[in-house]
Symmetry: C2
Subunit: 326 residues, 2 copies
């Protein structure tokens, strides 16, 4: 299976790493908006091309993994390239998924391609666990907790505050809330009761730290609804202690069964990730395999993780799965 | 959707409870080997018939859920009734799954039916989580822990010991092993290091307790390879404190990513169940819905949970799933 990468940042590099672990796939091309000669990639056998020449390399790619941002890149790029390639992306703006799906579905169906959107962990593995758990325990309640992990969006928001040189924000589930949910208590939880936000901030020389702290804590949408702590540290400390991009979280559903609702069950799916982008791309390449197989079986149009049977993701044969994994 | 139940014990009752929670399905018939007039069921609108008359009621059943034991019932019953019905079972003898699959596949294909085997939690939800995690993190290690929960097979084994009146056995994961796995340490673990076995035993009057304890602890396959504790209690205590059939466990995969394998990830799927049979039947009815839909789409032959896309389990529409669950 030949994989093309469109866009070369953390996700693009992650796809290379993930493909290397799978004997049945190889990265053949990386397409970039930059001058290809300035882009250094990891895979010795892959070529770097400018994205303007992408159509010349259609035959070198079975599935094109689009590694762009959800805010502006993917809503344009995925429907556009779905006209020429079988594409897959990690679009993660939940509210806009139906629109993005419709656009990609039309583009891929019109041109006899297959496509998949919103692959990763949330949306992605968390989504399918929400669906499985909801179907099995219809009389219950769902919870999604994120963290402890770095939120890139919140870190960026802090960096835009006047006087801030650099910052890293961790989203942290509230332990007592998690415990109540895991105990099957099915609590009603406000935003503030579910997560806290920890901010590590490097102030510029001479900046007013009290003012920075106040501005962060009162920022609407990002921090105002949370218990937020702000810790000022040096750039050296930030670079040394907060370099990674760990993330994770859990989807928990608790529900009751029995003729008189007398029994309680808890289903939990939990991820603890050293590298958010590398886990996302590990999911992307497994679903790229599924996409390629379903294309060969005649499937067309846009899919999500909810449309894909688990066996399509696996490099193992049906016989192997039946004998050893079931 | 009309559900038939074949065999009326804990599982049969569980199917009734689960179907009651789903507005799109109803239990129409219960088939039993006993005299139907002696079988009292929960669903007021369902009828009880003797299994010898089952073929007269083919039109009253869309999916027949076969609620039998894996040792002797299901290997015979599922292939037999797959000739006349769309059937689903919870066959759980892992080693015999390929044979059982082949038998049911042939019977259902020959007669233009669809079938599904080994639905529940292990095999079942645990299986598909093993497959997802293995596909996403190919460079890693799998662990399955069971418990804390009641093992019916081990409880039965103790009851067969001379001088034992009643018994209940709990399988318990070793906390330090679980912790090492959750930390991503990928330890090598022996059988003894993964689980302990707690036995609550009611001795008959005048029985030799030391002899009973020794015999349990040295029992090959069941207890000899484990650290086993035996606690003697009264029948009243057993009935009062050990009446439930809770179970659960977790599937954990830990794996590395990155060009130099520098990042570690842990995926955990965990179940905490008040009632083992009721959770199993909750999964069975969700997959019965999937089976009925896939049948209507033209699918035939035997499937497992690995062949079913998550959306088929859900009572929600595609649009609802896309907008709210993804």
């Amino acid at each position: 299976m030949k994989i093309g990468i469109l866009g070369y940042g953390n996700l693009g590099r992650g796809v290379e790493c993930a493909a290397k672990q799978n004997a049945d796939m190889e990265v053949t091309c990386v397409f970039t908006r930059r001058d290809p000669s300035t882009v250094k990639i990891l895979t010795p056998t892959a070529k770097v091309y400018n994205v303007k020449d992408i159509l010349e390399h259609k035959d070198e790619v079975d599935v094109l993994i689009i590694c762009g941002g959800s805010a502006t890149d993917l809503p344009e790029m995925t429907p556009e390239y779905a006209k020429y390639f079988n594409v897959i992306d990690s679009f993660d703006t939940h509210a806009n998924i139906p629109t993005h799906f419709a656009n990609v579905d039309k583009a891929s169906k019109d041109t006899d391609h297959i496509a998949m959107i919103s692959v990763g962990w949330d949306p992605g593995m968390f989504s399918l666990n929400r669906v499985y758990a909801d179907a099995i325990l219809p009389d219950g309640k769902d919870y999604t907790f994120w963290g402890r992990g770095v939120s890139q969006g919140h870190s960026d928001a802090i960096r835009r505050v006047e006087g801030v040189q650099d910052a890293r924000q961790y989203t942290v589930p509230v332990p007592s809330a998690l415990e109540a949910v895991r105990n099957g208590e099915m609590p009603e939880l406000t935003t503030r009761q579910k997560h806290t936000r920890e901010c590590y901030v490097v102030a510029k020389e001479g900046a007013d730290k009290a003012k920075i702290e106040k501005e962060i804590k009162e920022m609407p949408n990002y921090f105002a609804d949370y218990d937020t702590t702000v810790t000022f540290i040096s750039q050296e400390e930030l670079d040394r202690d907060h370099k990674g991009i760990p993330h994770g979280g859990c989807v928990i559903r608790s529900g009751v069964t029995g003729w008189n609702r007398e029994n309680t069950h808890v289903i939990e799916y939990k991820l603890t990730l050293d590298s958010n982008p590398e886990f996302t791309t590990s999911a992307l390449v497994a679903y790229a395999r599924a996409l390629d197989r379903m294309y060969k079986e005649g499937k067309r149009g846009c899919l999500t993780v909810l449309d894909v049977a688990p066996k399509y993701l696996s490099a193992k044969s049906d016989e192997e799965l039946l004998a050893h994994m079931l």
